[in-house]
Symmetry: D2
Subunit: 245 residues, 4 copies
């Protein structure tokens, strides 16, 4: 397999993980200024792309044209771009392309479990905890988790979670994301953590994900690399490769 963006921070981490993994071999490391043709010369069957929104569409056009499967962490995909990719893939029906905004298996599993459990519990809130240098609150993952929970509750015809708060301080009850309360903590020493607490009469269920190291996204990339050839066409979201249903 090959890596596009191999000298970037994320790409370099991917190269390290591939080198250490069983059953995959790194045959091409390509970055800005390198000829993309190296992918073909080295007979890469799968490529991982962590590059830039400006170049990723050209990269993918090249891969699809040459029958190379792609696992893509580069951002900036909107419906227009996805639709263009689907068009290109019709002429290469054997090629698989995975576009994923998040390669952390733990984060994906947490979101999936939270959404699945949502309909069994009257109450649910989300707490996310990060280092204090983070600019946004809540985190993107926490927002997305709350949206998925809210959708699951709507589908099950549930009322809003109970809350008798009538007096207090502004902000105490957190942010409101689609009717679900989300709390953001910023603490030195932490990396990236999230907890979903669900509760009903006499019991609670807590799902917690702790990410202690940036390298925690690499198992997700490897899962993508190992499966993308067997999943032709366009897939958006690593969750579809995890067989969680």
């Amino acid at each position: 397999m090959g890596v596009l963006g191999a000298r970037g921070k994320v790409g370099a981490e991917v190269c390290r993980a591939v080198a250490a993994a069983d059953g995959v071999e790194l045959v091409a490391e390509v970055d800005q200024g390198d000829p993309i043709g190296a992918l073909v010369d080295s007979r890469a069957e799968v490529v991982v792309d962590f590059t830039h929104p400006d170049v990723v569409m050209d990269n993918l056009a090249f891969c699809i044209e040459h029958g190379i499967h792609a696992v893509v962490g580069t951002t900036g995909f909107d419906e227009v771009r996805l639709s263009a990719l689907r068009d290109q893939l019709t002429s290469a029906p054997a090629v698989g392309v995975l576009i994923a905004p998040n390669f952390s298996i733990g984060a994906i599993v947490m979101m999936r479990f939270a959404a699945q459990a949502a309909r069994f519990y009257e109450s649910v809130e989300v707490v996310e905890l990060h280092h204090p240098d983070k600019a946004d609150a809540p985190s993107g993952t926490a927002r997305r988790t709350a949206e998925l929970i809210a959708a699951a509750r709507r589908e099950a015809g549930m009322s809003p979670p109970p809350d008798a708060t009538s007096t207090g301080l502004e902000g105490a009850r957190g942010a409101d994301v689609d009717g679900i309360r989300v709390h953001s903590l910023r603490i030195r020493g932490l990396v990236a953590h999230q907890e979903v607490i669900l509760g009903g009469v006499g019991e609670t269920l807590t799902i917690r994900h702790d990410s202690m190291d940036r390298a925690s996204f690499t198992p997700g990339v490897l899962t993508g690399v190992r499966q993308v050839a067997a999943r032709p066409g366009l897939t958006v979201g690593l969750e579809h490769f995890l067989d969680l249903d």
Copy 2:
């Protein structure tokens, strides 16, 4: 609906929960010495049985014969008894019988999630925490959770969790259940709690269930009562009514 064993500790809790619930009506409370025919006279459509292994088979024979669906928490079902029930149900194809060793939705969901997540994580251990008057360690739920995790790992072809322990004190690493480590804490003030911790490079996923009150099993009983009529035949395990797959 009716309750068999209505004056027992668990049965009484079920009666209270039914009285407080929407969409179900308690029409018969039957216990030792009461005529079981009250179920028919009161036109109960569903019966909940928390009685005794000595009488439950007779109770169920009566229910099946009279077209009454049954949700059963009484213990003591082995393959012989289950097979006898299946036979009886062939002559009453519209009747549903649910036999469940555990009605805690939280415990069931935790076990299911732990088994689903097991194949994504190199390491996994189970910690269960109970009040210090409990006689067995580990708890039945913890053992069952470890067995389900071990089965999921086997199916995924995984090696045993890594463990470099070469020196230490006996018991420090917990009990071994099918190769999965299980730790039992006994602390005054606690009720019934369990945590499954899964870990891979740079991240962990924790699934925790806290049961603070014995009443926490009643939502599971109500779920059974509401669905059993729509699920004819014999079902073993409430998980099959939760649509977790």
Copy 3:
């Protein structure tokens, strides 16, 4: 010992706890309409008062006059009342009176530890979790904890905790109590829980108190009862009986 307010919810709990405890004997249960003289007749040496702000000052005047030590959980003490009590105690120098707004040893220890640890950690936030029928957010204990932490940080000359949040949703970062962030969760199934998370480079320290049962205040009352005779004069706050310094 005797109990004033013995038939109230809290007083009744105290009576039960005293009956089960070693080394203390319940000799008088007094409530509205009962003659307070029963305390003298029964030779009570210590009295516990969980009554009402309207009657507690008269109760204490009676106790001090008759040389009976008092442990008081009744609310409504301001500086005027405390000062009046101090005056009365000058003429009964052997009598001890403990006024405590909070008898939960766990809550008191948590607040004390949080304040002690505050100066070692750059970051600190408070999370409190309660059942959804609670009217105020944050809880009184959480506010008090944050105030004590803020005071300890001021005394140590510390800057505010770091926080780079520049974009996000209103309320995500919780309420601001003296510069300390406090988050309130309301979840069915929970009782009363609080967590203080402190963090510095590469590490965090978490102090958590879980109160699962209202009876958790009784050990604090018994601690008061056992020690009040040895602590003459007025004491405000059970923490002074716990020798935490």
Copy 4:
């Protein structure tokens, strides 16, 4: 200040931390083969020693002779060595020497709090969680914590924690350290974590320390460096510099 063992893994981390800290200046980095006289030439007032048991006594003799205060993380101090140091310090009454087996402020504070809270709670157990490459179970810190808790309970005249376990699997209840149960988890993705859970009727108190990064010991070293000059004589244990009493 100067660092002895400056090119070792720990010493290098200390050098980095000193460079980034306010109010301390790194004037000498000394390692094997370098002349120790550099400490005098550079006018170091305080030295940090993370070297080896074979050389540390000579290093300290040199420091004491030249009036340099010392903060020592090197291991191998027994009563004979400590006694020799005390002798040497009598002739240099202004010099302070701190010998500490553990510089993690979080670990020290956790142990202190656990010992302080022990006498208020009927039950207590210790759980430590580390990466799976660790050789010993339980960890040294967990053993030490359990010993301190056991000593505090003995001093308070308490009975052993209640435990009705009569059936189960070997190891489930953990290791026994002075009558206190200790559980060791080994999970990929974790670094070094410990939890002390104390419980009484209706409530629990949990003290948890999470160390996510080896650098977490440096604030403790800096605390030692800043205070050692004001604490002449020999001090064993950083806790004596933290004013926790």
